[in-house]
Symmetry: C2
Subunit: 240 residues, 2 copies
């Protein structure tokens, strides 16, 4: 509800960071749907390597190309050098539309505040144009969607949850497992196989649940993983 710089009517558009959920279009919120249907400009991030925008695929059925412009922001896949410049430029391009009075909906799969590229746009706009109003619309995260698909609670009363990105060394896992009831490993890849070997070392064999593309037609929930199950849109839930 609150915005850092609320205030329509000053001739400046509002930047919306809109979480469009984990993949199933029916997991959009009513608010996300309203905003992406009203915004004249839809901005969607896409990985340089693939050329696809997963967020855009999720909402495509709700957009009207005759009335809405789609801006694409291409970002380096590995988020390494060069990425900062890409995001600064993207923020400037988006700011141009906003300063002309157009609202811009920056769509992002899952939630805009959890491992989303929207964080970089938000920072860029806040730094260069603090007068631009921003509103963040939270979405269903892939973490919750994966737990729903697996029908496995992440945490209950009094328990602790750790969410780790793609760093699966045995020391990281050992620390997390010592202190947390549930660990979610995000965006697993080939290093996952060594993580699974680590689970056995740590006495947690069989405690991992791998969920690929939760809520989509490509969904798979498996306890015994093979290499062909690996997929960027996947995660591993470890319940002690």
């Amino acid at each position: 509800m609150s915005t850092p710089n609320p205030g329509p009517g000053n001739g400046i558009g509002c930047l919306y960071g809109v979480g469009v959920g984990p993949g199933d279009p029916e997991l959009l919120t009513l608010k996300a749907l309203r905003i992406i249907q009203q915004a004249p400009v839809i901005c969607s991030p896409q990985a340089e390597a693939s050329g696809d925008s997963y967020a855009l695929e999720i909402v495509r059925e709700f957009l009207d190309p005759a009335k809405q412009e789609t801006m694409r922001v291409t970002f380096p896949t590995d988020d390494a050098e060069g990425a900062a410049g890409v995001w600064r430029q993207a923020a400037q391009d988006i700011a141009q539309r906003l300063l002309k009075g157009q609202d811009v909906a920056f769509i992002t799969e899952g939630d805009p505040m959890l491992y989303s590229t929207f964080a970089y746009i938000l920072q860029g706009i806040a730094t260069s144009h603090p007068e631009i109003p921003v509103e963040v619309v939270p979405g269903v995260s892939s973490v919750m969607a994966a737990a729903a698909s697996a029908a496995v609670p992440l945490v209950t009363h009094g328990q602790r949850l750790a969410i780790l990105p793609a760093v699966y060394g045995i020391d990281d896992l050992r620390e997390a497992i010592a202190n947390y009831d549930t660990i979610v490993l995000m965006k697993v890849n080939r290093t996952l196989l060594s993580a699974l070997a680590n689970l056995e070392t740590l006495g947690l064999a069989g405690k991992g649940i791998y969920v690929r593309r939760a809520s989509t037609t490509g969904e798979r929930v498996v306890r015994q993983l093979t290499e062909e199950d690996l997929d960027y849109f996947s995660l591993l839930i470890i319940r002690k």
Copy 2:
């Protein structure tokens, strides 16, 4: 999309665990809305102490009391002794409707897999009636909603997130702060004040953002907390 025991048509209703989001009714998903409007029985948890069902308040405008039955499940506020029996009985009451062929939507604020009472119902039904189909509909968690309200990203690429319940000893915080980029303390209360004192001890003064009732008319985002801001539906985000 997947269900542990899929299969309508066997004369048994489906148990839906439906996340209804953090408070703003517009943060329901399209799927949650469809299911709570179709289900003949809505089951809502309510704390013994308050007598209110927050989840029910969120969705009330979407229900039709003439066509839908509302079942309330009252649970002990402190989740201590006696709670297990309450949940077992509630699961039996719900199972009765399901075995008669009625779908039941168990609604829960936020997400059903993150600190939700639905976990107890799920376990109870899975144990006593494994033949009953269950589908979990993920929702927007208060964690994401709070970050959205504060316009503060929780984590970006490569960062780690810890979510801790109401245990705020300095040792807990020290461990979390040593190993994680962002720590979310859930359902803060009077012990929060000592947590804030701990933040100063740990050199993190001013790094905490307190968000009360994110996405509702009672929302407040503050960096300097006073005792009257304290509220059960609130959390603290600590960004290093």
